[in-house]
């Protein structure tokens, strides 16, 4: 029996194994750990030590209905878990506000000059956005990573991270993140319910850079349950300049919309 073909085959196999091992090691170096990605995403969204303010315009589209518009000015101080939202539009709700201190959220109606408690999970007005969308979140603390794969989103190569909720404090049981590879930025997020149903998709196609931090400037939220229902969030007048302490008070809400 001629043994040469066997020898050749073994040599080839060895070479392939070596090449594979090399390729894997190269890839391992280029592949950041999913925890690192999450940490970086958390870091991008958080303004620890700094105040943040901006004007958000939320346009919600529902089939067969006129688009609804909510415009609000937001003040955030993540170090103290504070935020203040002032409604600018629609005109009839102008001056209404939400103030958060720790886990308490007050709603203020200037037309009756009364306050009421409302919760963080409550929908902001009738839009697809939630109050919690405007507060600092920590993906790393709230979720565990179940997988990380590669893919492309439009023309961008992305990491696809599949996350499972650690606590029931979060609004969604499972989320899938599409993170741009060449520069860590979240491009798309899918939220799933406990039974695995896609509930909403959020796209972050426009960013601005603010003191070295990337901030989404336009966000599209698609309600996957009620087809055709979407909200676009546009952010302007972003600032990380210090905000006076008096802003995060009920008195400010009362004064500002006299």
């Amino acid at each position: 029996m001629n043994t040469r073909p066997w020898k050749f085959q073994i040599q080839t196999l060895t070479l392939i194994c070596l090449l594979l091992a090399f390729a894997m090691s190269v890839q391992a170096q280029a592949r950041p750990s999913p925890q690192e990605i999450l940490r970086e995403l958390d870091n991008l969204g958080n303004f620890s030590g700094k105040d943040f303010s901006a004007v958000f315009t939320i346009v919600t589209q529902k089939p067969g209905q006129k688009d609804t518009v909510t415009q609000a000015r937001i003040f955030r101080r993540d170090t103290k878990k504070q935020f203040l939202i002032l409604v600018l539009l629609p005109e009839v709700n102008k001056g209404q506000g939400y103030l958060r201190e720790e886990d308490n959220v007050w709603f203020y109606d200037p037309s009756s000059r009364k306050f009421s408690f409302s919760s963080v999970k409550e929908n902001l007005q009738d839009t697809k956005a939630k109050n919690s969308d405007f507060t600092a979140s920590s993906l790393e603390n709230d979720y565990t990573i179940t997988s990380m794969t590669e893919g492309t989103l439009g023309k961008y190569p992305v990491w696809i991270l599949d996350l499972k909720a650690k606590t029931n404090e979060v609004a969604y049981e499972r989320i899938v993140l599409y993170v741009r590879k060449d520069r860590i930025m979240l491009l798309k997020r899918e939220d799933y319910s406990v039974n695995g149903r896609l509930m909403r998709t959020t796209a972050y196609p426009k960013y601005v850079e603010l003191e070295g931090k990337l901030l989404p400037a336009q966000i599209l939220i698609v309600d996957e349950i009620n087809k055709g229902e979407k909200s676009q969030i546009t952010m302007t007048e972003q600032s990380v300049a210090p905000i006076p302490d008096r802003v995060f008070t009920k008195a400010f809400l009362e004064q500002v919309s006299r």
């Binding site: 629609p90 109606d109 037309s111 960013y207 600032s239």
Partner: protein, 500 residues
């Protein structure tokens, strides 16, 4: 008497035991049908009466929504809070109602949702938190026209305070719910006290402090949602966003809406991502903000949209004629080009009225299943009975009886037996119904209130029900005999005669 029926009677007597079994089954079937339908009829009538007496009226008029069916509870849409359409051209609509001679009275209405909140008061030490659920503080608000509403509906008793009167601003809360709210707030609420109520609608939130004008009890509990509260129409309009200027047109920059037309979110990532260095602006200018938010004093309070009504509930002079009146009204609305629909109490009750239908459908399904089982058992008994008579059939056919004669003979036997049995069963059914009615059994829960059509079990038998039950059981008897006769006729007369 034709020979065929003489033979039928003879056969019934000859095969007494089998005839008794079949007869018993048919009679039992008729009895069940009569009693069952007596309950369904009582339920339908009772529920209609209770709903129309309590809050739906005989006829319910609403605008049209593309999102789904409109009821007193708003629009039943998959998306949740869809806007309830208003009655367009209210005066014209009223004129149509006034011109219909069968309309006795009517009252306009608007509804909304709200929740009692604690405001910014600190949480009281003595307040109950564990036993209170958010539903206990939820209100389903009926914004009524106090001048006409109470003339239409005399369904409540005042436990404290008084009814809403024209010009009042405030709430009427159910006694049982007020107890729960009191427990949650940690203080006993009485008429004159105020509640901080947060209204929510597709237009957003609205917060108002409203006095409790009255505390009521439903005369007949179980027909309205426990959270139903009456409110003056002006306050309701503010709560439900039916305010002047609520539908303003807002002009926005194109970049605030440019992504909404996108069908596939992935298509947004075709271009290079726009990244621009945001100017690290100075601290927001609070003078500008205050200016942005400032309003003229007259603009501060939302002005209720006068004449904004969502529904009209109507009482007719003759509820039995309601269907015809509905058709007349809908014709008038169409002629005048008004996007309005008139419907019956079930349209008004919406999801709440459908639960009644579910109970009735379940009951009807049970009767259908019972009928199928009866047909199978009767067919089986018939098969045995007919096969026992194979030699007799053979002999008859040998002496010249055609297949048609044999079929007719068995059909006559089946129909005769079924008619007598069904009649006996139906009469027994009437007696059972009368006995049940005489017992006046009280409904202990919501399910039985629906099944009984009211607080007490009061089934009744109509002529249609009686005749229907007899006819159905005769049909069941007839269908059940077809298969065994077909079997018997397949056997050759010579072989049939040889069988024992």
């Amino acid at each position: 008497m034709p020979v065929i029926f003489r033979l039928a009677f003879r056969n019934i007597r000859e095969h007494a035991s089998k005839s008794l079994i079949i007869g018993f089954l048919l009679a039992f079937g008729a009895l069940i049908l009569v009693v069952g339908n007596a309950f369904i009829d009582a339920s339908a009538m009772g529920i209609r009466k209770t709903f129309s007496d309590n809050y739906t009226g005989d006829i319910f008029i609403s605008g049209v929504s593309e999102e789904g069916a409109v009821s007193l509870f708003g629009v039943t849409s998959p998306g949740g809070l869809a806007e309830t359409p208003l009655i367009p051209e209210f005066d014209k609509t009223i004129a149509i109602l006034q011109s219909n001679p069968h309309i006795k009275a009517f009252s306009p209405l608007a509804t909304g949702f709200a929740q009692v909140t604690r405001g910014d008061l600190p949480r009281p030490e003595n307040a109950e938190t564990s036993s209170s659920s958010p539903q206990d503080r939820f209100f389903f608000l009926f914004g009524v026209d106090a001048a006409t509403y109470w003339q239409l509906f005399d369904s409540i008793e005042i436990a404290a305070g008084r009814r809403l009167q024209p010009g009042d601003r405030g709430l009427m809360v159910r006694e049982s719910q007020l107890k729960k709210i009191s427990a949650w707030l940690g203080k006993t609420l009485v008429p004159g006290d105020s509640l901080l109520v947060q209204g929510f609608s597709s237009a957003g939130f609205r917060l108002r402090e409203l006095p409790i004008i009255g505390v009521f009890r439903q005369k007949e509990e179980g027909t309205t949602p426990e959270q139903l509260a009456y409110i003056d129409i002006e306050s309701l309009r503010v709560m439900a966003g039916l305010t002047v200027g609520a539908n303003e047109n807002i002009q926005l920059q194109p970049e605030a809406t440019n992504m909404l037309a996108v069908e596939d979110t992935d298509a947004l990532f075709g271009d290079d991502l726009v990244m621009s260095e945001a100017v690290p602006a100075q601290s927001p200018d609070f003078n500008t903000i205050t200016e942005q938010l400032s309003r003229k004093p007259e603009e501060r309070t939302p002005i209720a949209d006068e004449g904004a009504w969502q529904f009209i509930v109507v009482k007719t002079d003759n509820p039995a004629r309601t269907r015809k009146t509905i058709v007349e009204l809908n014709t008038s609305f169409a002629r005048e080009g008004l996007p309005l629909v008139a419907g019956d109490w079930q349209k008004a009750a919406g999801p709440y009225g459908q639960s009644v239908d579910v109970v009735r459908i379940v009951f009807a399904a049970a009767i259908i299943i019972l009928s199928i089982v009866a047909v199978i058992i009767i067919t089986n008994t018939f098969v045995i009975s007919v096969l026992e008579r194979t030699s007799e059939i053979g002999t008859m056919r040998a002496i010249g009886a055609g297949k048609g004669f044999i079929r007719a003979m068995f059909a006559a036997e089946a129909v005769t037996l079924a008619t007598f049995s069904a009649l006996i069963g139906a009469v027994l059914g009437v007696l059972v119904t009368m006995a049940l009615r005489a017992l006046r059994i009280e409904a202990t829960n919501q399910f039985f209130v629906i099944l009984f059509g009211g607080q007490y079990m009061s089934p009744f038998v109509t002529l249609g029900n009686f005749a229907g039950a007899v006819l159905i059981m005769v049909l069941v008897g007839f269908i059940a005999h077809l298969y065994p006769v077909m079997l018997a006729l397949r056997i050759q007369p010579v072989r049939a005669m040889q069988e024992e």
